[in-house]
């Protein structure tokens, strides 16, 4: 009995911890250049691209993921919903990949505007922005 109460208390603590960490950020969307042949990706495919586990779209063409810096709200929202990694988990993950020469972290931009500008120049690129920042130069391929 005592054990059950302890378990319940623990579950409540854990639940409140996870609520505390879930900040109410604006939703993000995953976008590519309008001229890209890619129309839709699922969460797993996007996560694989941004974690360097795959480097091409389903049709075999090369994909170039672009990150936002971890100071942006979009960064936190994207990794919470897509890769499901915290900032320090992400650093641990990339330090494993980088210092064994297995992979290179995606290039970074500091804002939605920079991302849109960059995506307009290269149809192979894929990025994420706040849903409210979407304009005509990009198409949404995943809205988590």
């Amino acid at each position: 009995m005592k054990n059950i109460m302890f378990t319940q208390a623990l579950m409540i603590t854990i639940a409140s911890l996870s609520i505390m960490t879930a900040a109410n950020a604006d939703p993000i969307v995953v976008v590519v250049n309008t001229t890209s042949p890619v129309t839709k990706l699922d969460k797993e495919q996007v996560a694989n691209l941004f974690l360097g586990k795959s480097s091409s779209y389903p049709d075999g063409s090369a994909a170039v993921p672009i990150e936002q810096t971890d100071a942006t709200p979009a960064h936190e929202e994207f990794h919470k919903s897509i890769t499901e990694k915290s900032a320090s988990q992400l650093k641990s993950y990339w330090s494993k990949m980088i210092f064994s020469g297995k992979g290179t972290a995606p290039k970074e931009v500091a804002s939605n505007a920079e991302l849109l500008k960059l995506l307009a120049s290269n149809p192979a690129m894929i990025g994420y922005i706040d849903k409210t920042a979407v304009d005509k130069s990009v198409k949404v391929i995943l809205a988590p």
Binding site: S18, N48, S95
Partner: protein, 405 residues
């Protein structure tokens, strides 16, 4: 080219980055040195000094050059306590990587054979939850690098992400006690399957191993040869020398590992078996570790163990010199890696997104083989005979600052 968060961009697609650990270890036993690897680290905490900064401290620098979209070059030098007690940086990785297909890379040059689940991050403590990877397991196959090639083949089948990594190479490395180990035709494979929060891993490495050991060459081998060749000599000494001489002997390491990590909690473990025909003993080793992430805090607990499965005494000598045969063969059999286990409790605190502070308590127990002398030292180094002759309990307190930049 845009920068990324993990490197200092020097232009021309060249970047530089680094990692390091500043660690202090206190041991409550002054009869033996605790070391991270008994084959690579000559000194540690305990007998040499109560509090040691040399066990975990290290600094690594890496330079990458992305020459073309498919060809890159990587060099990584690490400064840490080496077998000769020097801190001269050594090249751990220096290779060219070529992307043959979008999901197939080949690397050639100096690489680390993927012997363990955590082979990639053995020096990068920031990437692991603990102060150091469990020593009982990670002490087993200390081939830190080789000259060779490997392939990285990634495949996705349904929900499973596969990594198939065959490797081949040759190496010669300095070890403690003035030993040199030569691994010829080291070949192996690393297979990793990731399914959502689960990772499964299997690995097998096979090589032709030679230990050049001054004590063996100067004392043991001539001694055995004279017993073997003397009038009324012991023929058993001839056969034992042939099988125990650590030159050109096959050795293999088979291991499996699994992990579960849902972001909030993790549970991971590995199990491995060394099989050899020589001085390196047949050992079974493994660990299991669990932890939880609560904001910036990551408490964890680990149990790890090594078991020496080969005989530790010999009584098959014959004739008037048989007793000498028995003594020397027994000496060889008790030369390396005895039974030991460690219980670990620790806490990681992520100070910034690139700096982690860690504190860890280890309770290490060694035991003798049926009370036999010289079998109680576990995997400690620089031990006294009283430490060797009995079981020991050692408390270890470690703190470290791990960083990447």
């Amino acid at each position: 080219m845009l920068p990324n968060a993990y490197a200092l961009d020097l232009g021309h697609d060249v970047s530089i980055k680094g990692f390091g650990t500043a660690g202090l270890v206190y041991s409550d036993n002054n009869q033996a040195d605790f070391v991270a690897s008994s084959r690579l680290n000559p000194r540690g905490a305990g007998r040499t000094e109560n509090i040691s900064g040399v066990v975990d401290s290290k600094l690594g620098m890496q330079m990458d050059w992305q020459a073309t979209s498919r060809l890159s070059f990587t060099a990584q030098a690490v400064s840490k306590q080496d077998p000769n007690n020097s801190w001269v940086p050594e090249l751990q990785w220096a290779f060219a990587k070529f992307k043959i297909l979008p999901n197939l890379d080949i690397r050639a040059g100096r690489i680390r054979p993927a012997v363990y689940m955590l082979s990639d991050t053995l020096d990068v403590n920031y990437a692991n939850p603990w102060v150091r990877p469990p020593t009982e397991f990670y002490n087993q196959a200390p081939i830190s690098h080789m000259e060779g090639v490997d392939l990285l083949y990634r495949l996705q089948t349904g929900p499973v992400n596969w990594l198939l990594q065959p490797f081949y190479g040759n190496t010669q490395l300095s070890m403690t006690s003035h030993q040199t180990v030569t691994a010829k035709n080291l070949a192996g494979v690393n297979l990793v399957a990731t399914i959502n929060d689960f990772t499964f891993r299997a690995g097998y490495t096979y090589t032709n191993l030679s230990f050049n050991d001054p004590f063996f060459e100067g004392v043991v081998r001539p001694g055995m040869q004279s017993i073997c060749q003397a009038d009324y000599g012991d023929p058993v000494a001839c056969t034992q020398l042939a099988s125990l001489d650590p030159i050109n002997k096959m050795a293999s390491f088979a291991s499996i590992g699994a992990g579960w990590d849902n972001g909030n909690y993790f549970l991971t473990g590995e199990f491995g078996k060394i099989t050899t025909a020589s001085l390196l003993h047949e050992t079974l080793s493994g660990y299991i570790s669990a932890g939880g992430r609560f904001g910036k805090f990551t408490p964890y607990a680990t149990y790890s163990q090594i078991y020496n499965g080969s005989p530790t005494s010999f009584s098959g000598g014959s004739g008037p010199y048989g007793a000498y045969t028995n003594q020397i063969v027994t000496g060889i059999l008790t030369y390396d890696s005895m039974d030991q286990n460690t219980k670990t409790l620790g806490l990681r605190y992520d100070l910034f997104s690139n700096i982690a502070l860690k504190a860890q308590w280890d309770r290490i127990d060694t035991s003798t083989k049926n009370g036999q002398e010289n079998t109680g030292y576990g995997i400690f180094h620089h031990t006294t005979s009283s430490f060797n002759n009995g079981g020991n309990s050692v408390n270890l307190f470690s703190t470290s600052v791990d960083f990447i930049f």
